[in-house]
Amino acid sequence: MNRTVNIGMSSRPLKEDELSLKETIICYDGIAVVVHSGNPINGLSLRQVADVFAGVITNWSQLGWVDRKIDAITREEGSGTRGSFEDLVMKGREIDDGIMVQDSNGSVREIVATDPYALGYISLGLVDKRVKALAADGIMPTVETIKSKKYRIVRPFLYLTNGEPPTNVKPFMDYVLKDGQRVLRKEGLIGVHD
């Protein structure tokens, strides 16, 4: 907003005091709740997930597994992923302050991939063979379920400009909205026109 840059990026919807900026949606991204690939659990209810992050459910035995503390990981304050997670899953409940924090999707995935008792949330596009995405309320997060609006934990990726994009920026944005969509889909994101 102080015109330091031409375009800014956001991975969460704008807040009220930011609405003076013009937002252009370039794609959508699902947020997947993930566990270690060896974890026998395949799905949880959104309520359970929120309970874990609120500190109400702390042991895997409460979810039907072994008697072991849940190593939950969240993103840091200020993260767009966390903001969307808080809006769509926590729904106003606060994330417990005993929960571990990492400052990137990649590092959350790393920990979940190596700690058998971990549970975290990451961008769907970053899910790979080393972690297992859980079904939320019975729906698996995939590109199809997001397109068909069955999986609802989705947030928009935005380009933000101060008013109409300036002439040197507009061609870039046009590219992203047309041919660039191919690149976005390759990374596991959902195109804006889908």
């Binding site: 330091t4 990137s104 999707n105 990649g106 590092s107 995935r109 790393e110 991939a113 080393r130």
Partner: protein, 278 residues
């Protein structure tokens, strides 16, 4: 029951021996692990190609350039400032409140943790002075960071120059500056160079201050205002996000070898000083 002091003596000797051995073992293990896991992936191709696909493939060429760019320029700025300060403190003034204040400034700067340099550099250079994430912001921050080390080591080196040399020079009616430049500095040069090399070593491994000022762009920085990454930053990102364990170990190896190499040079220079004066 009193234990024979000789027995205690031997026991202590074994205990201390063991602990020293343990400490060295830690070092050996660290270096060995990095070596063994990184070696297979370090080759000329790795060193000369840039990272591709966010670092999953490709080499670390751009990071090497970024590191070199940052460290070289930081030394260029910090050396005159640092050596000049050291000369001032030793040759041009007597101990006074003024010098005490300056030393206090230097010591305090030395104690500031790198994240605070990162915090300062980010908000001051990158944002307020609108440099953006750039080599320049990184250089300015890094210069201040290594300044205390250069001042300290230069001062020691200059102080170690025997007084006789100066006295002889003055008796030949050389001015103070002539004495400094033609007599003192050349004698102190090895010690000063050691200090510079040590600073470079530190700058190469520095991450917190660099990532917030120079940024982490994957491209080769070609101008001062370009962002770029250093090997340490690249390693941090690779390791932390699990992008590529192989490349992480390989980068770590190159990083540690570079620092080892720099330390060896510094040590070699230092040895020349010792042999010259003993």
């Amino acid at each position: 029951m009193r234990i024979n002091p000789r027995v205690i003596d031997t026991a202590v000797k074994i205990g201390l021996n063991g602990q020293a051995f343990f400490t060295v073992a830690i070092l050996v293990v660290i270096v060995a692990v990095i070596f063994v896991k990184g070696c297979p992936y370090v080759n000329l191709g790795f060193l000369f190609s840039s990272p591709e696909d966010m670092g999953r493939h490709g080499g670390i060429f751009s990071a090497i350039i970024g590191t070199a760019f940052l460290c070289f320029l930081s030394i260029v700025f910090a050396t005159p400032l640092g050596v000049g300060t050291a000369i001032f403190l030793t040759e041009y003034t007597k101990e006074s409140i003024f010098t005490k204040m300056i030393r206090f400034g230097v010591e305090s700067l030395a104690g500031i943790p790198s994240i605070l340099y990162g915090l300062f550099g980010f908000i001051f250079f990158v944002i307020k002075l609108k440099m953006g994430w750039s080599v320049l912001a990184g250089v300015l921050t890094m210069t201040i960071m290594i300044l205390p080390t250069i001042i300290r080591t230069s001062e020691e080196a200059i102080k170690a120059v025997p007084r006789n040399l100066r006295i002889v020079s003055y008796s030949l009616s050389a001015t103070r500056w002539e004495t400094v430049t033609k007599v003192v500095i050349p004698s102190a040069a090895p010690g000063i160079l050691t200090g510079i090399m040590l600073s470079v070593g530190r700058a190469v491994g520095e991450t917190a201050a660099v990532i917030f000022t120079m940024g982490s762009s994957l491209r080769v920085p070609t101008s001062l205002m370009d962002s770029g990454r250093t090997m340490a930053v690249h390693f941090y990102i690779l390791a932390r996000e699990g992008i590529s364990m192989e490349n992480a170990y390989a980068t770590a190896l190159v990083l540690v070898l570079s620092i080892l190499f720099i330390n060896v040079i510094a040590y070699y220079i230092m040895n020349r000083v010792i042999s010259r004066y003993s």
